[in-house]
Symmetry: C2
Subunit: 363 residues, 2 copies
DNA sequence: ACAAGTCTTGAGAACGCTCTCAAGATGCGC
DNA sequence: GCGCATCTTGAGAGCGTTCTCAAGACTTGT
């Protein structure tokens, strides 16, 4: 029925140009020893016939696969995922990776793996065997998952560990969490805050610790206390609500909170609103991540801008450039910036007689 | 140096189980005629060795590629893309596609193509040759791009056209834009609104027209006017600002606006705030898309929930199920719902003497 | 002008899989 | 128990590419 369009193969080009397969292959791959005249002739044939090498065949004969694999959690339903959209790393990472891969003639594939169970090894192993990617990108918390990193190292597949600075196989990349937290805290101190709390992420993420470190360092440098000013969440909204309430209950004099994720900080914003605290006049808020949602909250949140897309982009470039070797384990740091929006201001003046510039919000 | 782990091939399994390659292949692919006893033996070997067929090799020998390709605009920088995150279709589509592909043993790849110029043909052609995908997913406005659909039809590659209901090659899927707009408008009428404006999307998107149709139909059914109540934007924030201002300038008695994208509606929200109009008490707003950002605006927006992820999911399933044939061109409609949040309310009572329930917002 | 190189080109095998086709094993009807 | 049909198994070719290696063409130095 349908006219089956025969794919143009290297053989067609060879015949058309009157040369051998090998010569065409050399031209395509920029091989070194081809007479210019012949090369042009072959190129003309390639253009005329619209030849493009088949990735599958290339892979078969031992060349690269031109595939970079990004590992992600499975066990999320569509609804789950929709709920996390715009909130999560996934999309930013995808876009950074896809764009950069595309620019280098690579493709990015996302592999969903059940990272929690010990199926990891089997599932990931299967994906690696099937796809034979030229590189793998790991994001937290997978970057520090032994099972995963060992499997990759064993198979001799180059991989990037984002959000990990431990020595060992794989290219470590970080986003300057410690300095970012230090910067955010310092900014609040500069504004006059003296009670600055933090809602941290879960401890199995190294970056949670780094952020706490930066916060503490800034506090210490200014001679400010941090006892009882730390709460731990799981990056999700509900945990942020819980943490913010606990902090506010405990410290009546709290004037600023740094949240370790946009979700948690947004939750803190909600808690503040519920308690009649105006942000930023009564309470300043700084968030971590700077995903799109914080631009549209009321007020828009000041946030540490985690350069996720850029970091993934760097990771891809590293993987492509290094190829199969790569014992260089210098940590690559893509620094985070602070985007000041409207959730930060000087703290309210302490004397109760002194009225605020405006009404304290709804009761 | 590094112990190069030899990949487990079908040959290894064959030797291990003491059978021929062909038998292993049959077991792997669920071939029909294998003695149960032998099959179990082969399966045991497969498990023991951890054999997984190489996709590249499978593809080479004429089988499927197990790849679904999603076409997207190139010509976006990382910054561009970050700005659109959480706002755009891309991520929702990606996630729906990736998840569904994964469930069926397929993979989704995103191909960035310069869809505007006439490079399309060359770029897309190259991608198709290189990847040889089993199916392609087109989103608006590519779904209606002749150059693209023709190329795909010519090559005999199954493809889905999301947001298109025109006859022709490819599986058409829509998201009930007409009824969704009708529903949204009816809801506003029900609340008592009589002046309901729409900020539509650009006309090269069929769905823009469908939404206008639904809006008009609801208005007509209620005997309400629509003259001068339509503005056209480009889905972007700036165009929403322009459109909202124009509408508000023109009609002092306007009490509701339907925006054809979250960005545009958020812009309208901002314009309302600037003019001292409280949402929803002075002005009701309904948005289209329901991307994550509208949950966190103040107030959260009532929105038509475009089931993008679900639609892409359906598209993937169709492509996988149909395989190479597919002359069934019945339009598949995944209906959109309306998520009511806090940007809709009855219109203010017309008599100027009647005070609102609260202050009219900042000047 | 001749030997010893370097460039250029091509022939053939190999990659891991599935397809086609033929041969052997097994079942059925009488 | 024999002939035929059906099941089961395997051998070999082929998919489109790159790799290895060898042969021929062209330099260069003397």
């Amino acid at each position: 029925m349908a006219r089956v369009r025969k794919t143009v193969t290297i053989r067609d080009v060879a015949e058309d140009a009157g040369v051998s397969l090998q010569t065409v292959s050399r031209v395509v791959n920029g091989g070194p020893n081809v007479r210019p005249q012949l090369r042009d002739k072959v190129r003309a044939s390639i253009d005329r016939l619209g030849y493009v090498p088949s990735l599958a065949a290339q892979r078969m004969s031992g060349s690269r696969s031109y595939i970079i694999l990004a590992i992600n959690d499975r066990e999320r339903t569509l609804a789950d995922w929709r709920a996390r959209l715009g909130t999560d790393w996934v999309d930013q990472m995808l876009l950074g990776g896809i764009l950069t891969c595309s620019q280098h003639g690579y493709r990015m594939m996302v592999e969903l793996v059940d990272t929690h169970s010990d199926h990891v090894e089997r599932e990931l192993g299967a994906a690696l065997s099937a796809l034979q990617p030229d590189g793998v990108i790991l994001t937290p918390p997978h970057s520090e998952n032994r099972l995963i990193t060992q499997l990759l190292a064993e198979r001799n597949i180059p991989f990037a560990r984002i959000g990990s600075n431990a020595p060992g196989p794989g290219i470590p990349l970080t986003m300057g969490d410690e300095s970012a937290a230090h910067l955010a805290t310092s900014r609040l101190i500069e504004l006059g805050h003296r009670r600055i709390a933090m809602i941290a992420g879960p401890s199995q993420y190294s970056l949670s610790g780094w952020r706490i470190d930066g916060w503490k360092r800034a506090l210490d440098e200014a001679g400010l206390p941090h006892d009882g000013l730390l709460e731990v969440g799981d990056f999700g909204y509900a945990s942020g609500t819980r943490a913010a309430r606990a902090l506010l209950d405990r410290h009546a004099d709290l004037t600023a909170i740094i949240g370790s994720s946009d979700q948690m900080t947004l939750a803190a914003l909600e808690v503040a609103r519920d308690r009649g605290l105006a942000v930023p006049h009564d309470l300043s808020l700084i968030s971590f991540d700077n995903t799109p949602i914080v631009r549209f909250s009321q007020p828009p949140l000041t946030a540490v801008d985690q350069p996720i897309a850029e970091t993934v982009s760097r990771a891809v470039e590293q993987l492509i450039a290094r190829g199969p070797d790569g014992d260089d384990d210098a940590v690559i740091e893509v620094p985070a910036g602070l985007v000041e929006r409207s959730s930060t201001a000087p703290p309210p003046v302490e004397a109760p007689a002194q009225a605020h510039a405006h009404a304290p919000g709804r009761a």
